[in-house]
Symmetry: C3
Subunit: 419 residues, 3 copies
């Protein structure tokens, strides 16, 4: 994942443009994608797909004739969706279009102006402070014209048409944790899942944030009813603790499963209630959809100082964190896949476990698996799923599932007819 | 308010009598009142209006011929509803009818015997201890005979017949925080409200505690169905923190609104669950009415040592606390008045705020008003009122309302049809 | 109770056999019992009654000719349900059948092998470590053959057929706190209850753990619908704090009543949620029955180091703890018996208590009984039982009941018609 991340990092992505397409080309080396091009001007609910933006070069030449700011060095230097311009101006005029972070003087901020045509450059505040008086020539050789917005998806078909939606956003230029770490986790999650015979179908969606998910929803409105639940994948690679942001409903199966996995991870973690700002869960959880979509991250966007700046680079993320995060996604999916409801075949009193070789013959030991067996036999009344029982027993889902499988083998549990 | 309080303070009020009428005369200089005289013996549910009590003078002459206790000095000296008596007796006989506070030896307690004809005097324990042996002449020149009980009310009519009930009690003699501070807050609240075009009608009720509210309820039973909610106003002037005592139902709009105001007051406060002793909320929240009536106070009756004694005098209350308390009543009423339910016109995905000039063009700042906008657009699904949304967003109602008004102007929210 | 405990202690009980019958003979000196003999092989849901086990003698003769282990000294020495054997063997062969507690080297553990025919001895680890090499002669003169399992019960008939079930288990040999303390508390509770005219009928059940309660349930399935609630009585005599283990439903009347009694006991206590291991509540709370059966103990089985060993002897329990425990059972039953629902005859406003002599005439004192009176008048709306009101008022049930009785006498409360 870290290698893929490193390869994708330098490309200049935005909500439209060839950088996005190039990124999808690279991802297609791992998994196949079905791409959709949506023409500029296409309506999507209250929105319309914007013009397509592509940059050839962009720089500022200082009074001494050298390029003092150059997009070629770092694509964050250019305001996202910057309009074309060639103009010479004084320092003070230029400064009206420069963006810096005064409290982090050595990093370049990330700024955009998607829906208001403007031009600008971003740079380190230390450099900004050292600019000398004189004439500056601004050159932005870019196109901002009718074209199309690209999104891509892959469907891993399971036995059911019911889908689990995994989404990430592909609109950020050179930033690692925000956006890109989610893209690589989503990619390799798709690659991992396609090996298995799955119960649910899994849709992995790569799209620009906001306009991308809105457009996808507007074109797939009928499909949303068959989406069991989903997760927005982002901020997966920093070394902070895991954070789960609940869906708007807050108590759906994805919420319970994600919190279960974190609780049994033996590490500190954070649970946040839904709030209507953040990433694409805003759209999936808008009142007209109100889907069971949460988001599993490490340190949340906005909660680390490197967020939306050149500080969010390759050194800010690490392979180990990426690995730990994808592992948690896999564990959550494992729960979704196996969260069956069983019914005990012996509702009246416990069955005799000893005669089936399921119980310690002598002695006071009650190994964990025996206690789980007793929880299952007591709670498998058709009202509780395996996940519910794991929560009540305070045991990891995987252990409960393993013990349940054994009880099924012995004829002590059967699948709920209603399922 | 403090001036009105100072003027009302010396008058001898009780559950009946001319002191109450004189008090209403003074209040009528601020607001107009509609008075009701209810004849002695009139039935009110399980109760009957008692005889009317009026005192001309009352004193005790000591062995040395001087007035050792005199009602003219402090009306608390006389047992409330003391029957007429002229009698000379020994100190020991007298002491059977004297009431003091041994643990606060310098203050005069407040005692009454409304429904059991008796006589008595209250005095400082230090004076009690210094009374010398000898004959004491007790003179109570009072009348306790058929007459009437007076209550008064004012109705500030709003667009709806539905009423908000604000009640205070006018039966306490010279005590400032208990009873009288509520009377002046209720008076000036009425004076304030009548300036506005209001949604609800506001009924401000001045009546003796217990028998007064019971009599009012017995004569206005049919009206109670149209009372949205109410507050008992008392103990408004001490320098302690604010206390909200919940209604019996505990989760009505007045409970949520009052707690919201206190939570956003930036000061420490106290919430108490309903308990069936205290003031007139006992009657409004009796099971046959079970109205949405709570009580907003500062330090609760019984919770300060000056309670029901001469310690609860003009020095115990202050203008600043009275002002802070009435401000909170006004904020609560502001919530009731504007707690509309709106529905988003764009339930599916967020509307595009940028094109309406509602969103920061560049930059990472999300001012509080933008976050509130997102909360409103996400939660205005017809299920949640503005107050519900303010609670979820953790933002003051006034801010949420202001942002909602702006969204209405932009056509992004509309009033719920059902309202 | 301690005398009865001391007399029962030495007897070798198991899930079947003459030791159980002898124990019932002794209990019958206090209360009469109705015994049931269930033949070996009788089916009970998934189980069958096992063979009957009786021991004449059992010992191990060491290389020096003396009895190094002897059942006559302590019946815990013999593995429960040990099969007959006469055999001479080496120390190493013998050791395969010896059970000790390495971390408590001076106590003899309690072990059984009911459903897997085996032989074995239990001994102190210190003795085990000192056994010398040589030949050992093992003699177990026991019978393990078709017979019957004995359980016993007594029904104390009340005015209603609805029953409260009190169960204890009689299958443990010489152990005091686990099992036997419950047996003596149950015995004297039955003896106490039969003096009174009771509302509910009380069934006291003495049976071996697990197979006994399962067999009883299989033969009394129809009766379970008329069982209001129940308690499993065990671990009543140690000096630890009281523990209440909730029923599976967790919020039944027995749960509320037991927690109420512990909360008002003025002593520290423990509440545990239901878990499906432990004692016979496992069967009563199996999903097909899901009865309102909890368990009131002192230190829970498994939570003290003397559990299931010779450490759980007469010195581990004391008369005072037994007395305190039975007192709590009596208080819980007192609540069940008197947990009436009353309705106020004055739902609209408070009734006038003063004219009925129910309220302090003068003065600020509100004794606890007046506050309880106000709670009752406010909450007796037909929705809340006396126990519900005691919980809301934070007052002991007995006080609330006493005040309620007084209000009934004054015609202010009447029994709910629906009851």
């Amino acid at each position: 994942m870290y290698d893929l991340l490193s390869e994708l990092f330098p490309i200049c992505r935005s909500i439209t443009g060839d950088g996005v397409r190039e990124s999808y080309d690279i991802i297609e080396r791992v998994i196949s994608l079905c791409r959709t091009e949506v023409a500029t001007g296409t309506k999507a609910f209250d929105w319309a797909v914007p013009k397509e933006w592509n940059v050839r070069e962009a720089y500022v030449i200082g009074p001494e004739g050298d390029r003092v700011i150059d997009f070629a060095n770092n694509n964050l230097h250019l305001l996202g969706y910057c309009k074309p311009i060639v103009e010479t101006m004084s320092l003070s005029k230029l400064k009206e279009h420069l963006y810096t972070l005064e409290d982090q003087p050595d990093v370049v901020p990330y700024r955009t102006s998607y829906y208001d045509e403007n031009w600008g450059f971003c740079l380190a505040h230390s450099q900004y402070a050292s600019l000398i008086e004189g004439d500056y020539k601004v050159v932005v050789d870019a196109t901002l014209e009718d074209g199309s917005m690209t999104y891509a998806e892959t469907l891993i078909e399971g036995r059911l048409d019911e889908e689990v939606l995994i989404t990430c956003y592909t609109c950020h230029p050179s930033m690692c944790n925000d956006s890109l770490s989610g893209v690589v986790v989503a990619t390799y999650l798709a690659d991992y899942l396609r090996q298995f015979d799955l119960k649910y179908s899994y849709r992995i969606l790569f799209a620009p944030e906001t306009i991308g998910s809105i457009t996808w929803l507007s074109r797939n409105e009928a499909r949303t009813d068959s989406i069991l639940c989903g997760l927005v994948v982002t901020c997966c690679g920093d070394s902070g603790k895991l954070t789960y942001k609940r869906s708007r409903r807050g108590d759906t199966v994805i919420d319970v499963a994600a919190e279960h996995v974190l609780r049994h991870s033996c590490k500190d973690y954070l649970i946040e209630d839904f709030f209507p700002y953040g990433s694409d869960e805003r759209q999936f959880c808008s009142p007209g959809f109100n889907m069971a979509v949460g988001s599993l991250m490490r340190t949340r966007y906005g909660a680390y100082k490197e967020y939306h700046s050149s500080g969010d680079d390759l050194s800010f993320v690490n392979a180990e964190s990426l690995g730990d995060t994808i592992q948690k996604y896999i564990e959550i999916i494992d729960i979704l896949e196996h969260n069956t409801t069983y019914v005990t075949t012996n509702p009246k009193c416990e069955p005799q476990l000893g005669k089936r070789g399921l119980y310690s013959k002598i002695g006071p030991t009650n190994p964990q698996s025996e206690l789980i067996m007793l929880w299952l036999l007591n709670l498998c009344d058709g009202e509780s799923s395996l996940l519910d029982i794991a929560e009540k027993a305070g045991s990891p889902f995987s252990s409960v599932r393993r013990v349940a499988d054994n009880l099924v083998k012995h004829g002590l549990l059967v699948k709920d007819d209603l399922e």
